[in-house]
Symmetry: C2
């Protein structure tokens, strides 16, 4: 499956002691200037088409229990330049082939007093800059503890930012749009509650951080290849408008335990004067290592439904009984317990989902709440919460397996860990073996609540090491992973394509917890999706949650057309149709798009994009001539104008356009949509109104 | 193997609201008085033959994040009395059958304001009192976090104590003998360095704490059945001479996460006017649950030698190469590394140990340093240190397995975890499977250095949960465990008899690290061994360590006769002959005792005992008529006088007496011993001089 076509690799080594050097992008638009300052501190700055993007910013790391940090007193002992250009084929993705093209500068720094060596490696792509710290094997720097990484990003102006609060444990926030200088004053209002959360600064924000300058530059700061290192947040100095890295600490407040030879993750700055370039960039993937899995034939995109939304809305329960104030696995006798009557993961009900999946061509059915332990799973700092293999009395694993198999549907496993990481690792082999036995190809894992070991955070080095362990061990068992509440991705799916999804942001579930902002989905592709696909769980058709649960007044801030568009705009090899079968049965004509839409692509063309306002993208189905277009819109009504010039010249296609009705509105009239069919060619122009919180979806099939 | 003969069980329930009640020992010598004080705080006091042992002391627990702790405002809502008397057969032990005989009082307390229920259960044996806190299932107390347990032990006088500093991570201290009132002033002098240690108070001490009152009472405070709870230290209030429990905190400073229904460990106070009763008591075992292992046929006592002392003394190395500043498993290429020439765990050398073991009838050979990773294993807070299955290039697992098998010797596995607990748990199944494959029946595990997860302690609830996990998982694989640097035992070997040993105190290795006090071994049976057997690794014949390593000036503070006696006085089903074969070859006549001495017993008779001064014990070999006697002596020369009245009447035996020579001395003349043979009967009296730091050992075989 994996082929790498190396078209040109050329490294030029220069043993010249220069204290300053420039690095340009292949197209010449970007220029990075590296320089050691008078203190021997490394600095860099970045321009795009001669406009300043990053002003002079310092680099370095502060060490713990060390008189001398890696902050200053450096000399340049070597610089190496290179050019790299290859194309590689992803196992799944937005494109059939991905070009990895950059110019490189590696600066070897030697600290005069300590003779310690640190390399800063810069890679300049057309879309932006990546750089990282490298620590070669040496005698004077072997084991070291990071007190803080001090990587600066000095912004050149008071940009507009689309940000969420920096946090050690939660990424599930709505985005706030403000000037950089307003972050501090708007910080508290940007906070919403979560099962586990801890902010560190009123000017702390998360990456990927999307910004727009007054002169029209789109700037995005994130990281790539976060392996065995703490996640980076950014903290803003409001007076200088300089961001600085702020790593996630461990239980002792330390920020990283390193052993040379090793490297930091890549720090990335993407820049363009066209917002579509940010969405189209594959820089984050390219900064990750090639695929580490030899045989990837078992990794397949999936479209699935699930016994899930009914619990999220409060219509049903994960738990089986209300008999006990608490339960203990292996001690609580569920067979003697009174069923609570609301437990959704029961065999007949699951079979009805399997029937629906089979009827409408879904690959899989997820079932949550199938296993013992849900009565007190959450918020108790409970160690032994689940064993991941023991079903409730009313969930017949064997019968469900047989039934699904006969219907040609795969079951999707659910492992809620309750953030009890040790407990999950103890059961991981058994749990994966159980999945192999009953033919579950993928697992949705969850990390709700505070991490155990207590004091650790979701995004500290310890827990990040765990997430990676779970992915790599899953690969041993040929299992695909969709981890929720895990660290936001940083392109690791290139190396481990069995990581087919993550939540790691505010997903659709929050539409049942009070709602998300209507323009949320016009921001996620600029932020969360920079690192990899999201299991956003779209496809909600019933926006009034009270119809499912009279005690829940939440409203889904989206139109049905917007929900359909998400299958195209939110790229993911894993897509759920999250609503209840009975709701789809009410709108079977609209549901047709969810049935038709592809999961994997040969080509993607970003047609329109403006963060917080709108995104329109067209994608060509893998191995077919079918195209699918999606448009999502922010709070203001807007007419999207696109040309279908991506279609093959000379061919005629039938387009089915699922759009907002004229009077549609995410709040007042979300279910008003129109479906129109028409013949189109590569000359066709489409002008389509999208409602507030609306959008449209188009399927385009060749007429043969 | 396991049989329980229940001779009498009788529980009398009394639903009477009494606020005070007494509980006597079966023989009537001990009396505990329970009473709620005016604040509704539970209190107890203890007398022995009408002498006060524990003055009125309060009981209770302080909770975290809770307005109301479990300290006061209680009423007695129920009391239950009972009598229990059964005998049970241990899988291995000092006795063929153990009698478990106690009177019980269970006081159910209800907190008035909160309606929370807590039971304090007291069990009174002839040798002492055990009590614990129990939290039944209830609605108002489900999950709770212990800020501190406040269990008091108010001493009735300024006793002489034999103590080591309270510590969250180390038990490897020499004992200090002082008045209670002197603990604070002698605390700093009692400290010695360790790879991981943290004290909490200048008046903090460890249990088992041995004391002697001025009026001749021997008092011992410890705990039993430490499961899923933090280890207890004791902190002394010097003005009131009251000890109070001081639990080991977690990384956040919390002391325990509990979920009702659950219990605390037992807190034990043993009392007698004869020190021998403390040594002979099986109270700690009796307070543990019966054996949890169905088939125990694979659990067998072992006598072993090992490739170990030569590394401890610095003669050889665990590591294979000096090439690298650090190593990474899977990345470091050991095949290309230069051997350092000192690596002891090489195939020919191990074979020579197997030869020696086979020749002299040893069951096993331990080899440390056999696996990759020892170059930088220690003190680096390194996560992935060992994988427990990859041998060094010069250690041929397969060949050594075949060679040992052909010689009828079992190899003993070594798992040094470097306290990287997560890493060990990740590899545990694979490591145990590797042991099964190569027929290793037992593992010596080690926990040197600070615990990972960082911030956790060796004796916190988190790590104690791990030690238990490793024991129980080992049982699944029919593996015996001998855990070093693990928490000191509390009788858990009754429930899990595959826990055949622990270090968990200052072992023989310290004789190569500067030496231990010559009376150390007259204290360990009163302290460390109260909870279970110790892998003390006796049998050192060459006391001048410089003869092994010119750079090590340490001296073994013991005579050869003392070393031999340890095989009897330090009861353990696992006994090492720790010195090098070449040293045994020099003293083959003395070595004969180590070859002859039994590992498992039908009967044990404590003949003489005084903590810090001397211990003399006779034991009858399991399933035979052979007896073995051991005497260890403190710093003053002493003549031990014993009568062999434990021998069968009318029979004649041959005794071989291995004793100190007249001029022997632990420091100046440790290798001077005499061996005499004589016929003995049950009327024989023996009067034998033991040198300072000396002792004697006797084997007694029937003449047929």
């Amino acid at each position: 499956m994996r082929s790498v076509i190396l078209t040109l690799t050329c490294f030029l080594s220069a043993i010249i002691l220069v204290h300053a050097q420039d690095l340009k992008s292949p197209d010449g638009d970007l220029n990075m200037h590296f320089e050691l300052n008078a203190n021997g501190t490394p600095t860099y700055q970045l321009t795009y088409k001669n406009k300043q993007v990053i002003k002079t910013s310092t680099l370095g790391l502060e060490l713990k229990n060390d008189d001398k940090s890696l902050m200053d007193d450096f000399t340049v002992s070597k610089t190496e330049n290179g050019v790299f250009d290859e194309s590689w084929t992803p196992v799944w993705g937005e494109e059939k082939s991905i070009r990895n093209h950059y110019n490189e500068l590696a600066v070897t720094l030697t600290q005069k007093e300590t003779e310690r060596v640190m390399v800063i490696r810069f890679r300049m792509f057309d879309e932006g800059l990546g750089f990282r710290y490298e620590f070669p094997m040496q005698n004077n720097l072997v084991y070291f503890t990071i007190k803080e990484e001090h990587t600066q990003f000095a912004m050149a102006g008071n940009h507009t930012a689309f940000w969420i609060p920096g946090d050690y444990d939660s990424q599930e926030y709505d985005y706030t749009e403000s000037k950089l200088s307003e972050i501090g004053s708007k910080f508290d209002a940007a906070l919403t509650d979560n099962a586990s959360q801890e902010q560190f600064s009123k000017t702390g924000v998360q990456t990927a951080l999307m910004m727009k300058s007054d002169d029209g530059l789109y700037i995005n700061i994130h990281e790539a290849a976060l392996i065995d290192y703490a996640l980076m947040n950014l903290n803003l100095n409001e007076s200088t408008l300089t961001f600085e890295s702020w790593l996630t600490p461990d239980a002792q407040g330390d920020k990283g335990y390193l052993q040379a030879p090793c490297t930091s993750p890549w720090r990335t700055v993407m820049v363009s004067d066209d917002a579509r370039d940010i969405l189209a960039s594959k820089m984050t993937l390219n900064l990750n290592e090639p695929c580490a899995i030899e045989d990837t034939s078992w990794i397949k995109p999936m479209k699935y439904i699930g016994v899930w939304w009914e619990m999220i809305t409060g219509k049903s329960s994960w738990s089986y009984t209300n008999d006990f104030p608490s339960v203990k696995l292996g001690e609580t006798d569920y067979d003697k317990a009174t069923p609570n009557g609301t437990h959704a993961a029961n065999t007949p009900h699951v079979k009805s989902y399997i029937d629906f999946a089979a009827k409408h061509g879904f690959d899989g059915v997820l079932v949550e709440g199938w296993n013992e332990g849900w009565e007190d799973w959450f918020g108790q700092s409970k160690d032994y919460v689940f064993d991941f293999v023991t079903p409730y009395p009313d969930f017949d694993v064997e019968a469900i397996h047989d039934y699904a198999k006969a219907k040609g549907v795969k079951m999707v496993m659910h492992h809620e860990t309750s953030s009890s990481v040790r407990n999950y690792e103890r059961h991981l082999d058994t749990a994966y073996q159980f999945m192999n036995k009953y033919d579950y190809p993928a697992v949705k894992s969850g990390y709700v609540g505070d991490i155990l070991p207590r004091g650790e955070h979701h995004y500290g080095q310890w827990t990040i090491n765990h997430f990676q362990y779970a992915i790599e061990k899953a690969a041993d068992y040929k299992i695909m992973v969709n981890a929720h509440e895990a660290v936001r991705p940083t392109g690791i799916c290139r190396t481990w394509p069995n990581l087919i999804g993550n939540e790691s942001a505010r997903g659709t579930e929050f539409q049942a917890f009070g709602g998300s902002k209507p323009n949320h989905v016009t921001l996620l592709p600029f932020t969360r999706l920079i690192g990899g696909p999201m299991d956003y769980t779209p496809g909600i058709f019933e926006m009034d949650i009270a119809k499912l649960n009279p005690n829940n007044n939440s409203h889904v801030n989206s139109t049905i057309a917007n929900q359909l568009a998400l299958y195209v705009t939110m790229y993911s090899p894993l897509q759920m149709a999250a609503d209840l079968p009975e709701h789809y049965n009410q709108f079977m004509d609209a549901f047709q798009f969810i049935k038709d839409v592809a999961m994997d692509w040969d080509e993607s063309v970003y047609l329109e994009a403006e963060p917080g306002r709108y995104i329109t993208v067209a994608r060509k189905e893998k191995g077919s001539d079918n195209w699918f277009v999606g448009n999502v819109n922010g709070v203001d009504p807007r007419t999207s104008k696109i040309t279908l010039d991506f279609l093959d010249k000379g061919k005629t296609y039938e387009a089915i356009i699922y759009a907002d009705a004229k009077n549609a509105h995410y709040k007042t009239n979300p279910q008003a949509y129109t479906i129109t069919k028409k013949k189109v060619t590569n000359k066709t122009k489409i002008s389509q109104l999208s409602a507030p919180g609306g959008g449209y979806a188009i399927s385009i099939m060749e007429v043969k």
